[in-house]
Amino acid sequence: MSERSFAESDSGLAGLVAIGGLALVWETVGRLGISLFVPPLSGVVVVWWGLLTDGTLLGAARSSLLSLVKGFVPAACLGVALGLAMGRFRTVRLFFDGYVNTLMSAPLSALVPVLIALFGIRDTVVAATVFMFSFFVIVVNTVTGVRGTERSLIEMARMFGAGEIGLFRRIYLPSALPAVLLGLRLGAVQAVKGMVVGEMLISLIGLGERLIYYGNTFLITHLYAVILSVLLIAVLTSGAAQALDRALVRWK
């Protein structure tokens, strides 16, 4: 136990060193003024703080996060539900397997113009993009979790008289939980990608609009400040999912 926590704090330290190193190199290269496209990190942080306090970032982030939630929550609920059904029932699995596997590896950004045609240039498109990006990985992981249930656990529960509902609630569901939570974590990361892609393609709202605007107007320092904000959202989302994982799967 103590060895493991030592190793973990060790890797945490290594991560800090890596990030600190990168920050140092970035700052140095920026100060040398080699390229317009590499402003010093300190400048980026100052601009970031300015954008945060004048409300630009918060306004954009509010719109972005709203789309993230509107897309991810339905993706999580429907994804887990479909995954459970596919994992448990062969016919459901055979019916959906092809679609799910194809769409999971398809370049889904290509479908965003279709969504724009469908919904118009609105935040609904961003939410739909978020949904599309996160749904399939959640489904696939849930299916894997259900199908990975130990046969002997099923026999054991049947031996004690468990029916279909008992099996589902007492065996399949808790057995699939770690894989479901992994799916939600990967799904959340995908959702942030979907959010940025959607907003950049419609270039009208949220952090994605700011990315395009600062990029097109060569406000490179501002651009980096927004990129950092997006990264921060991604890290926080993933961290929240990981915390949920740790709280629910204590036995591992």
């Binding site: 656990l153 026999e155 054991m156 529960a157 004690f160 008289g161 468990a162 007492r170 065996i171 036995w251």
Partner: protein, 248 residues
């Protein structure tokens, strides 16, 4: 409760696992099923348990035909089949939970049987924190907690080391003489079969049939009588080996 198999056959695809198996097990008897791999002993145990259906023939428990699992039968599994996400106590309670027994009664029974199998103090441990032998003790406590008349054991000690296994065998016999269950025990080990049983049923492979039935007239309790050191024990194990060798 007594068990009777009448002309039980079962086929898996092109493999005839069991063919016309007929046998009778008396109430309170300790019977072992042994035979080479592929003789269908685990299949027969699962048919008695009601987990697998027979193609033809029938199993009678206390004179009533088996149509599926039932409260009077419990099973102990080779790989323990413990819920990894539940504590020892919750695992032992599991059968009672599915039977709809109330929380207090469940907990009381669980604590009693955890103590009976020698795991007092480990109630809140998770299976992953226990050794194989201890995990199987949880499996046994869980099977006993529902107070079944019949205990079905599918190679329960197969993945437990020899020293732990010997201790466990004596504990199992002590529990059995305490509770007087009918036990059907599947094993690969000839010593184990002779040491534990009243009778050893030898099955022949492909298709599985009852080949021979051995009576084991060794005194009980067997640990106190130092049965393993007796000439009779050695003679019985040797006799069983001679039968099994011909079936390989």
């Amino acid at each position: 409760m007594d068990i009777a198999a009448r002309g039980v056959s079962r086929r898996f695809g092109s493999v005839q696992a069991l063919a016309e198996v007929t046998l009778a097990i008396r109430s309170g008897e300790f019977v072992t099923l042994i035979g080479p791999s592929g003789c269908g002993k685990t299949t027969l145990l699962k048919i008695i348990g009601g987990l697998v259906a027979a193609d033809t023939g029938e199993i009678l428990i206390g004179g009533r035909r088996v149509a599926g699992p039932g409260r009077e039968r419990s099973m102990v599994f080779q790989d323990f089949a413990l819920l990894p996400w539940a504590t020892v106590k919750r695992n032992v309670e599991f059968g009672l939970l599915l039977a709809g027994v109330g929380r207090e009664e469940r907990e009381a029974a669980a604590l009693r049987y955890i103590a009976k199998v020698g795991l007092a103090g480990f109630e809140d441990a998770y299976p992953g924190q226990l050794s194989g032998g201890m995990q199987q003790r949880v499996g046994l406590a869980r099977a006993l907690a529902v107070n079944p008349a019949i205990l079905l054991m599918d190679e329960p000690f197969a993945s437990i080391d020899e020293q732990t296994r010997r201790l466990f065998q004596d504990d199992l016999l002590a529990l059995w003489s305490d509770e007087r269950k009918t036990v059907v025990f599947v094993t690969h080990s000839m010593e184990e079969a002779i040491y534990l049983s009243d009778r050893v049923i030898v099955l022949s492979p492909r298709p599985g049939r009852v080949h021979e039935v051995l009576d084991v007239a060794l005194p009980r309790p067997r640990d106190a009588a130092d049965v393993r050191a007796s000439v009779e024990f050695t003679r019985l194990v040797d006799g069983l080996w001679k039968i099994l060798r011909k079936l390989q």
